[in-house]
Symmetry: C2
Subunit: 182 residues, 2 copies
């Protein structure tokens, strides 16, 4: 049940309302996790019942700001430091990359080109955010999710880009010989 721990982790950084947490998930979605508000609100209620978080402020339109409690911090720490069984990743983008060799070489090349461009765009976007941040480390805004996370995202998309270019080169080579190694 990672949603619990994701919420605890977000609240450990800073207190927030369900609405804000939902927005944070929107920025996490391309890298690690996602949850919609219909999942967030009930789970916040349960976490509060369990004493892992608490309401620390009530604002304008029914807004409740939650903060992590000591018990919550302990629970989060335990989870983060526990080994964690072998990872299960769900990544439709990667799935498409893996299945691409089911296509003919022309289709594959088209797809790879598309993915190479897409990942390059993402990388460029993140590079911009990162260098803006490094120039003026404005603590709250700017970066999607903290400096470490941004660096991770940047390196991830750079990696995908390089991989796609490599794969295209492989295709070209295969073309000139025989079977294009699956």
């Amino acid at each position: 049940v990672s949603l619990r721990h994701a919420l605890l982790g977000l609240l450990a950084r800073e207190q927030a309302s369900g609405y804000e947490l939902t927005a944070k998930f929107d920025r996490l979605r391309r890298f690690a996790w996602h949850a919609s508000h219909s999942q967030v609100y009930p789970e916040l209620g349960l976490l509060a019942l369990d004493g892992l978080i608490e309401v620390v402020d009530e604002g304008p339109r029914g807004r409740r700001t939650y903060a992590i409690t000591e018990a919550g911090t302990a629970e989060l720490r335990t989870w983060l430091l526990s080994p964690g069984d072998d990872p299960v990743v769900r990544n439709e983008f990667a799935l498409r990359l893996f299945l691409l060799s089911s296509l003919g070489p022309e289709d594959s090349r088209q797809l790879l080109t598309q993915h190479a461009e897409q990942s390059a765009r993402e990388a460029t976007r993140l590079r911009g955010l990162v260098s803006a941040h490094d120039a003026a480390p404005d603590d709250p805004p700017g970066l999607p999710f903290g400096r470490f996370a941004a660096e991770y995202g940047l390196r991830y998309y750079e990696m995908v880009h390089e991989w796609a270019r490599w794969a295209m080169a492989q295709l070209d080579e295969g073309q000139r010989e025989g079977a294009p190694g699956t």
Copy 2:
């Protein structure tokens, strides 16, 4: 509904039974997708009903081997070549990495060390498989999921490893100054 397309993609490479497809998902799980047999078998039934796959062989203990049909190939191609909306990734490993700055610097360093080692191990394992494959490209076995996929996995874990080392260096630097930039 990506399960359908994942199954179509796997069957496009080669015909297989539900049992074999389930095993393939086990090898895909750390990179792209997963499904258990209780999901696979019913979905194969539906795909067959829709004429996207068909039974081409019946073996020993009720074993049915499926193959993709022309309609299935067309459907897969359409899906693969369609742009695909912005990716949603679910990756508990990455989630842990992102939340790590919620911890104190000592805990963070411990976690990063752990992750650096884990990703190094994975990278080494894949590097072994890849070079064995490149030496003797035995088509069916050896690689977890094809040469392109193995390369992707390898580069992914190398990237995570480098990132973890970079993050640790950042921590050290932050230590010597003030706040460790989130």
